[in-house]
Symmetry: C2
Subunit: 578 residues, 2 copies
């Protein structure tokens, strides 16, 4: 493909709203263009990379007996009401009415549609198991779309659904998809980890996420030193570093007395309070307030040094979605004090307590009176009532490995895949049943499995780039070889370029030829930006000296070969890179 015949416009600068390198580079390389917030047009180069990745996904799924179909993006309300998710999905589910007043949504996921599809066909255990998948456009009304394809509103996804007779079969299907995903991301050529994860509002009993590691990743991952345990921080169990109590949990001090109010004027934060009292944050208690989707406020107590984990709170309370933090005015209305002076005493709402706080005693909390705190507080004495004790805090780097020896190490990742064992959540709600060998009607055991196609491509760029541009892994590179024609009008240059293109194309590689009338410097800069694995610099002077430069994009190493051995050298290099 010649640049002069391509629709390709590179940019020197990306728009200001491109915040992370991969977003900047995709904009600059003409791969994506914003149509509206979180909604993009994919240019020809992006689409080539996407198609290559889709092909890898298809091959690995088909190899494992999965079958491809295509479900619609527009889905009727009635199906979503059968599972209760019409409400439960919240405002992220984009709903609308048609001209006849019928209600629809744009598919953000397809459990309802596939379960409906399958229940019409499946009758007997003989019809099971099977796994159906699609590669399709999804839509979610993200509040704050950002980072290009990382958190978009409209996005390309592969979603697969497995259907089995029993739990054992479903477990096998889950493992098979786990293997498929390992194979897919390995072939993609990305560094990735698999972590335990929350099931969100997909539901089910077990789920794992596949993350491409990158510093700008939105998710924090905690991995044990031996690599055998890995979890998204959202669900990573938080163990205490030492089993001993804190200094303030001195039983004796609890015996008598009652909480005593003291003035803390102007102390708004845990840090302020720690500084003023000389007591470490891990020995202070922090009072937070959240609102559930049922519009019920709750109080959460944590150590001053800890961070609340909304997903753990959601799971402890069996909510469909993580609760929302109250804004300052709501806190004031609820407690009589602004945040910073609030505490659990005298509250009329449920109080959820992190397990690290449960072990504490004789501690300081806000007095629910602006500028005052209470000291000598003890839930053991009944100063306030604990509704429930649970693990509600974010685990941290350095926390003990919950499944073995050593400590946890923190990484940042971009979630590109997610696999769920669903059980019978959808098949029971929608009566997707089959007649078992024993003559009994049973709900089908299901699993579901997603890969963000566009996001994977951007994540690969986020992980593989340098200051000059993209460094494509050969697996999904739009083109494999980039020829900079330094003298595009020179017949000898033209004929060698054509020879290279014909030979490499015959071997299944794709060649991009910069035949523009531009200076070499401009061409080299664009070649680095576009980032195809190998570049050739081909000009009259080199040919006169019987020398052609092959530049490897990843490390910018240069080898010089004779024009005669160019094709052979390229093929060898390409094989090496695979």
């Amino acid at each position: 493909m010649k640049w002069s015949k391509s629709y390709l416009f590179t940019l020197r600068e990306a728009p200001a709203d491109a915040e992370i390198p991969s977003h900047v580079l995709m904009m600059r390389a003409g791969m994506i263009r914003k149509v509206a917030a979180g909604i993009y047009t994919y240019g020809p180069l992006a689409l080539k990379a996407i198609r290559r990745f889709e092909q890898i996904v298809r091959e690995e799924l088909n190899k494992r007996g999965c079958q491809e179909l295509l479900m619609p993006m527009v889905q009727p309300k009635e199906l979503w009401e059968e599972t209760g998710r019409w409400q439960e999905m919240g405002e992220g589910l984009q709903k609308f009415k048609n001209r006849n007043g019928h209600e629809f949504c744009l598919g953000a996921t397809h459990e309802e549609v596939i379960t409906d599809f399958v229940r019409k066909d499946v009758k007997s255990y003989r019809d099971l198991p099977f796994n159906l998948y699609q590669i399709q456009t999804k839509y979610r009304d993200e509040i704050r779309p950002r980072f290009g394809l990382m958190r978009g509103r409209e996005f390309l996804m592969k979603d697969a659904y497995s259907f089995d007779r029993d739990q054992e079969g479903a477990e096998g299907s889950y493992q098979l998809m786990r293997e498929a995903y390992q194979a897919i991301f390995t072939r993609l050529g990305a560094r990735f980890v698999v972590v335990a994860a929350d099931s969100g509002n997909i539901g089910g009993n077990r789920s794992e996420e596949f993350h491409i590691l990158a510093d700008s990743g939105e998710d924090q991952l905690l991995v044990s030193e031996d690599g055998l345990f890995a979890a998204n921080v959202e669900v990573c169990p938080a163990l205490l570093k030492e089993e001993s109590g804190t200094a303030s949990s001195d039983k004796a001090s609890v015996q008598g007395g009652a909480p005593e109010e003291f003035a803390t004027p102007g102390l708004k934060t845990i840090a302020d309070l720690a500084k003023s009292t000389g007591i470490g944050p891990e020995q202070l208690v922090k009072t937070m307030f959240f609102m559930t989707e049922a519009q019920e406020p709750i109080c959460v107590l944590l150590r001053g040094s800890d961070e609340a984990n909304p997903v753990k709170i959601k799971n402890a309370l069996r909510l469909a979605n993580p609760p929302r933090l109250l804004v300052d005015q709501e806190v004031k209305d609820l407690t009589g004090a602004w945040p910073g002076s609030c505490g659990p005493l005298g509250l009329k709402i449920p109080i959820y307590v992190d397990q690290a706080v449960e072990r504490m005693d004789n501690y300081i909390v806000g007095a629910n009176r602006d500028g005052f705190h209470l000291k000598g507080v003890s839930h053991r004495r009944g100063d306030f009532k604990l509704t429930q004790v649970a693990d509600l805090r974010m685990a941290q780097e350095g926390d003990p490995n919950p499944q073995g020896q050593g400590q946890l190490k923190a990484y940042r990742g971009i979630e590109v895949g997610h696999i769920f064992y669903l059980g019978t959540k959808y098949s029971q709600a929608m009566e997707a049943q089959f007649l078992g060998e024993d003559g009994q009607l049973k709900p089908i055991e299901m699993g579901c499995y997603g890969i963000g196609i566009g996001r994977s491509i951007q994540a690969v760029i986020e992980q593989n780039h340098d200051k000059d541009g993209i460094i494509w892994p050969p697996s999904v590179a739009p083109f494999h070889v980039h020829i900079c024609m330094l003298d595009p009008d020179e017949p000898a240059v033209q004929s060698l370029v054509e020879e290279v293109e014909v030979a490499l194309t015959a071997d299944g590689y794709e060649v991009f030829i910069d035949d523009r009338a531009e200076r070499p410097g401009v061409k080299f800069k664009d070649a680095d930006l576009l980032g195809f694995p190998l570049r050739i610099n081909l000009g009259s002077r080199g040919l006169q000296q019987a020398e052609v430069e092959i530049v490897e994009r990843r490390n910018k190493s240069i080898i010089k070969v004779s024009p005669k051995s160019l094709v052979g050298a390229l093929l060898e290099k390409l094989k090496e890179l695979q």
Copy 2:
């Protein structure tokens, strides 16, 4: 692929709402399943056919220098307002608001998005020409979705857009796409015609449609005997059969007198009136009423024997969309009489007159009084005022060829492709400009080109089927060879099946194997329904007699070959069928 490993459930009967054969057959073959009215899931077999057709489309477009990209389905109101089509597209454009109150629509077509994409990149004449296309899901809120994929709400389309420096270039791009479409539908293996067409609310100066011929086609096409003229009836010029006036256009009779009312009780239709008066329908005048999108009623006069052509009325009045026929009550409110007794005299609304009526004189029209008509009416005398005379009727089979000798012949077709020369309608409205060689800013010359992907597949089935099932053209057949294993447990049968599968797969063909434990009759019936080009009947008895049957689906011809020569015979037959 073995049936036992496939997700494939055939049906004996299709649901009652499947009205035409292709819809029935696609339902019965498990190719599509309804999710909501006009919204379908495509099963694995349908998707295979679709993907094959997409590949043909891609190859023919790429060969001609077109480049593939992918635009979003969700599009912001702002872009559509730039061209005025946010209003003009009417209720077929599905609109909605997101959680922040921003307005969007689902893309029914992508002129606005592609023009926006291009205007951000193109600066100079050196950046032109180019042609960009996508294969993507579109949505239109059809009032009455029907016939499966023929008139669906959600549908798969290939849409391409050409961008040129000037009209000459744009004409060349149009012709190149016309050639591409000819090649695409020829490779598809369908009988098709190209006809002159209306531009609808896409706009532009010239357009042609590609129709797959089929009796159930929604469009009527008129083709000259020499084949050089072809038009959709919507735009086919209607010429009069003879140049002589009608019997009633007797100048003498107009001289004196005035229209005279006479009683026509119970005569509601032109046929009634013709019978009662003894005057042929072609000598009577029919009065019809329509409402424009600006909510202005208009009157249209036609010969009693003619049918109104809403597209011609739209074009004569320069409306964006065809006008709507008034309902009876609206007519009564407007004229004082129910339809059947209405006429042009005394009306206060514009009166549009078909050119065949313009030549008439001394005729009968309704009196705008129930049960009465007027005779001796003459517009020449000024009985009423003609707002405009134009060709407003449907041309018919037998009408003169408007561009040559002979008569027109009628066909029915399914529109599967449509090409438009747009001119600068969109580039002017959206300021998609470039700096010409002369240093002047100019709007880009555009064309747009669509192919209904899903509809093409169904149209092929509509054209190619018999009472037993589908007859796939090999170009898009999901599988090429269907093996009915008559004794699936017999090792000799199994090993021959495997040999055939391996050999044909190596040659790029796909083999479907019915390995179910079913009776031969059931298998043959399903093979006929699924309709792959060749079937092999393979059982123990045949093998003992060293005989395998190869059945050609199209004509059910059977040849018998020895097991040894089976692979060779199949390959030869498949080559023949291409």
